[in-house]
Subunit: 230 residues, 2 copies
Amino acid sequence: MSAETSGLIADRALLGRTSTAERVADVLRTRISEGFFSPGTRLAEDAIAGALAVSRNTLREAFRLLTHERLLTHELNRGVFVRVLTTDDVIDIYRVRKLVECAAVRDLTEPPTGLDSLLAAVSDGAAAAEQADWRGLGTANIRFHQVIASFTGSHRVDELMRGILAELRLVFYVMQDPRWFHEPYLVRNGEIAARLQEGDGAGAATMLAVYLDDAEHQLVGAYANHNPAE
Amino acid sequence: MSAETSGLIADRALLGRTSTAERVADVLRTRISEGFFSPGTRLAEDAIAGALAVSRNTLREAFRLLTHERLLTHELNRGVFVRVLTTDDVIDIYRVRKLVECAAVRDLTEPPTGLDSLLAAVSDGAAAAEQADWRGLGTANIRFHQVIASFTGSHRVDELMRGILAELRLVFYVMQDPRWFHEPYLVRNGEIAARLQEGDGAGAATMLAVYLDDAEHQLVGAYANHNPAE
DNA sequence: ACTGTAAGGATCGTTCAACAATCCTTCAAG
DNA sequence: CTTGAAGGATTGTTGAACGATCCTTACAGT
């Protein structure tokens, strides 16, 4: 392969069109993540297929994708529902986050490439908080941790993290007060980023561990309170 | 809920039947993992739907599942193919394995629950090696690392690991000599298990790191040699 | 030899209609 | 208040259909 053509292989992704099922999955995914469909909601095939003007078969392919991403649950002969996370799910998710995020920074001894994205996420969060845009703060916070995971340099870890955080959003949007949950961590994000800027990965890792434990407890407490039946 | 009925909730999983699409996916998954379908093979819808006596629509649902698991690749208007891993994929997979497996044991200070499963995997591997059953040795080896991951106590990590190892099998079965690849690590598995038995998680972690680096290099070397075009 | 074009067939993408299987609701009976 | 039965609604799965896209082959043209 010549040097010129090899420069084009990065453009393959742009060229890959998407099927209808994937586009439908995208629509539903964003709808779920923004809380338009609340956890527990049943997604009836006829209704949604009609609304999106696609056939039931195509919609079912999209359902299968989202079920595999754990955003939907599929009960045979009963249909698909927006996933309702249990407290155990939240705990499990934070177990994964601690494992991945801490490992992503622990062995760093110098500022990682992509640190600018991390700092950008912090300042974006600060700007959102300045304007009392708590929802924007939430997304900035999520992006912060996505960048943390990207320091592993692994595409699969990136995807894992994307899925995990998408699941977490299922919890965020059933809670009414995003400020209460996201604001306390803005300062900590800055501190963690500062550690990484100094090349102190181990320090950042321990801070992240405490951070995630706190967030987990706060979330589990609020979640159990909000959904005492479980 | 009474005490008696609560004892039955564990049986819910048994009760959950499976759809045809999932069963089809299971069949194809095992066929791929055992090398019946080699990487690069195209899976034509008509042929396979006919062979399995299911409709194309149902088969396509199964394809979507397996594509999401990265066992198949889907090219629009061209069909689905058994995934062909690149060297970069192998490197990425081992990056995930190092991250997960090392983190799973690093913080252990006493023998974890489930250590018996680990020891069983070791002895099963030894028994298979004794009988020159190199394929059996390979599966025992894989199970060993699956148990390692299970020490995280996270269902999501288990699933991640299951997927990662399923991907790796795509490489194992294009190589002709499973003995050459799996046998050297039998002893090391035993040593790692011994460390964990002594409660030396950190020691096991460093051994695992070296182990996985060696395996990665060996595999990448053999793979690049086998598939020089990439 | 290399590039371009055209035709044909094969396969995929998607839709639609149909029917059996299952579930949910309602309501009556015990 | 529980049990059972009838009826309607939804899902599970199939088969056929048709346009769109791709692959192959053949046939020129430069």
